[in-house]
C-alpha cells in the first residue's frame, strides 16, 4: 500500500479492512449507518456479504458482534468514537469486555476534529472510559501506515480492542510496513531537556512542537504511545529518567486519558514533574479544524509553549 504524505486514517481503515478480510474469512464488519463517513464503505463494496448493516442502533450492534464472536468470527464494529464508546458502554462491558470476546471496536472521528459536527460528535473522553475497562486493549495510531499496522496487530490479538481513529488527513510519520507491537511505545526523538509524550494523530503536532523547540536550541525527547492500554511503562519511565520533566499532550480531555495513564505509572515507578496538556475538561464545538485547534490550544505552537512552561517550573 503506497501512502501519500497526508492521508486520512479513515481511508486506510477502509482499505485495511479489505486487506485483512481477503486474508481471513473470519472478519466481518458491522456498520452503524455511517459507512460512507467512516469509510467502511470501501469494505462494503469489496465484501458485500461480510458487511453487516446494523442501522442506527449501536447497543444492538455491540451485542450482535459478541454473538458472532462466540462462533469464531472476528467482528469489527464501525461507528463514530462518540457513539462506539458511550452509546453502548454497558454492552461493551457485559458481552464484550467481561467475557473478553474477540471483537474490535473502531471509533471513527475521535477527538475534536469531526467535520463541523460539534460537541455531540466529539469524543473527548473515550480513552479515559475505555482504559478503565478490564480486558480492553486501547490503540491510537499516529498516521496512515501506523493505522494499517495497528489494525493488523489488533486483528491478530485474540480479545477486545478499541481503535481510536481520526477523520481528516494528517501527516505521514512512519514508513509503510512498520511493525506494530501492542504495548510498545516508539521514541521519535532523543533529547535531554524535556520529554513529550503523545498518542494518535496528535503525535504529528507534538513532533512539530519538538521542531519548534529544537529551533530554539532545546533538545526535546519525544515518545509516541500508540498503545494506551497496556501502557509501555518502561518507555515512560525511560523518558522521565532521561529528561526529568514530562509533558503529556493529547487531543482528549486532560482527565484520565494518556495523561492519567502516564501520571499513574510515573507516580508509582518514578515520580517526575509532569504537565498534562489536552482539552481542559470542557466539551468542544463546531468549526474548521484550524480554528478548533487554535481555540482549544492544541496546535504545535501551544504544545511548545506548554513545554517551555514546564521547563520554567522548578524541578523537585
Amino acid at each position: 500500500m503506497t501512502v501519500p504524505t497526508m492521508i486520512a486514517q479513515r481511508e486506510v481503515f477502509g482499505r485495511t479492512l479489505v486487506e485483512l478480510a481477503d486474508a481471513d474469512p473470519r472478519l466481518l464488519v458491522l456498520d452503524g449507518d455511517l459507512a460512507n463517513s467512516t469509510k467502511a464503505d470501501i469494505f462494503a463494496e469489496a465484501h458485500p456479504d461480510r458487511f453487516l448493516a446494523m442501522g442506527i442502533a449501536e447497543q444492538n450492534m455491540a451485542g450482535v458482534a459478541a454473538g458472532l464472536a462466540t462462533l469464531g468470527f472476528v467482528p469489527w464494529i464501525s461507528t463514530f468514537a462518540a457513539f462506539a464508546v458511550k452509546r453502548d458502554l454497558d454492552q461493551v462491558r457485559v458481552v464484550i469486555a467481561q467475557p473478553s470476546l474477540n471483537v474490535k471496536i473502531a471509533g471513527a472521528y475521535s477527538g475534536l476534529l469531526t467535520g463541523f459536527t460539534g460537541k455531540t460528535h466529539q469524543s473527548v473522553e473515550d480513552i479515559a472510559v475505555m482504559r478503565a475497562m478490564p480486558n480492553m486493549v486501547v490503540l491510537a495510531p499516529a498516521d496512515g501506515p501506523e493505522t494499517h499496522a495497528a489494525m493488523v496487530a489488533a486483528h491478530a490479538h485474540g480479545g477486545p480492542v478499541y481503535l481510536r481513529l481520526a477523520r481528516d488527513p494528517s501527516p505521514r510519520i512512519f514508513d509503510d510496513g512498520l511493525a506494530f507491537v501492542i504495548g510498545r511505545g516508539i521514541v521519535l526523538r532523543e533529547g535531554r531537556d524535556i520529554a513529550i509524550i503523545s498518542t494518535g494523530v496528535h503525535t504529528a503536532r507534538a513532533a512539530e512542537a519538538c521542531d519548534l523547540l529544537a529551533a530554539d536550541g532545546l533538545r526535546p525527547y519525544h515518545l509516541h504511545l500508540p498503545t494506551i492500554k497496556p501502557l509501555d511503562e518502561d518507555a515512560v519511565v525511560r523518558a522521565a529518567e532521561r529528561t526529568g520533566a514530562v509533558l503529556v499532550t493529547e487531543e482528549h480531555t486532560v482527565i484520565g486519558g494518556l495523561g492519567g495513564a502516564v501520571a499513574e505509572a510515573l507516580g508509582q515507578r518514578r515520580p517526575t514533574l509532569l504537565r498534562l496538556h489536552g482539552i481542559r475538561d470542557v466539551f468542544g464545538e463546531s468549526g474548521p479544524n484550524d480554528a478548533i485547534l487554535a481555540k482549544y490550544g492544541l496546535t504545535p505552537r501551544h504544545i511548545a509553549e506548554e513545554a517551555r512552561l514546564l521547563l520554567g517550573q522548578p524541578r523537585p
Binding site: D33, A57, T120, G287
Partner: protein, 303 residues
Amino acid sequence: MRPAGRDAEGRVPATPSIEELRTIAREIRRLVLTSVHHAGAGHLGGPLSAADMLAALYFHFLRLDPARPDWPDRDHFILSKGHSAIGLYATLALRGYVPVDELRTFDAIGSRLQGHPDMTATPGVDMSTGSLGQGLSPGVGMAIGAKLKGASFRTWVMLGDGEMQEGQVWEALEVAARYRLDNLIAVIDHNRLPQYTWPDFGQRGREFPVQNLAGKCAAFGWRVLACDGHDMDAIVRTFDGATRPDGRPTAVIAHTVKGKGVSFMEGAFAWHAKPLDDEALTRALEEIDAQTGLSAPPAGASR
C-alpha cells in the same frame, strides 16, 4: 422583492395562511442551501425534507414568543434529528429568534449556531440534540413536567425515520403511553432514507430504514396520524388533529422525500450531508425559486 410579510430585518412574522406557510418553507429551503454552501459543511437531505413541517410548526402551531425564548408557557419543540439543525436555525431566524444574517455563522467557531442544536448556545432551542434517538425522552420529561405543573403547553418532537431504529425511542414511546401524555406530539419525518442506509447488496435490497412505522407506534399505545409532509394543507390539517387530545400521545407520520425541492438531491442518500459547490447551489436555488413563484430571490439569500 421580499416575500409577503417579511420585515426589514428579513424576519417573517407568524401567519396562518397556507400560501404564506408555503412561501416560508421555500424560504427555509433557500436559507438551508445558502447556509450550507457558505459553511462548506452541513446536512442537506434531512433539513430539506423537514422544511414544510418546520414552517407549519413555527409559523402556525407553536405558541411562542421570539422575544422571550424562555417563556415557561411556550410550546416546547425538540429537533431530535439534530443533524437537521440548519433547517431549525433557518426557521428560528425567519421567526425572529436570531438575525437571518447570523445563519452565515453556521458551523463557524464560536457561533451560536452549532453543527447540532445546542440549547446553551441558541435562543429558542429547547434541548440539545445530535446523538440520534435521544430527543423524545426529554420531550417525555417536559410533557410529564407540564402535567405536574398544571401547565397547558404542548411538547413537539421531530424525529427521523432512521433514528427510529434507536432503542431509546421505543423506551420513550412506552413510557409516554403509560403516563398518557396527550400533551406530547412526535412528528416523524418519514423520508425513507437514513445516512448510508441498508445497502443495495445481496438479496436484501436498499430497504427503508424502518418498516411499518405506523403499526409500531400504534402497538406502543400511541395515536397515529399520517400525512404528506410536503402538502401544506395536509400538514396543517393533520397537526391540527394532533393538538386535539384523546388521552394518548400522538405520532404524526409525515411521508416525505429526503432532499425535497432540489431534484438532484431528492431520494439520493449521497446528499444526506455534503458540501455544496457554487454550481450546485445555483442550480438548487433556481429550482427552489421556480417553485416559489417569487420573481427574484430575496436580497442577501444567495450571497
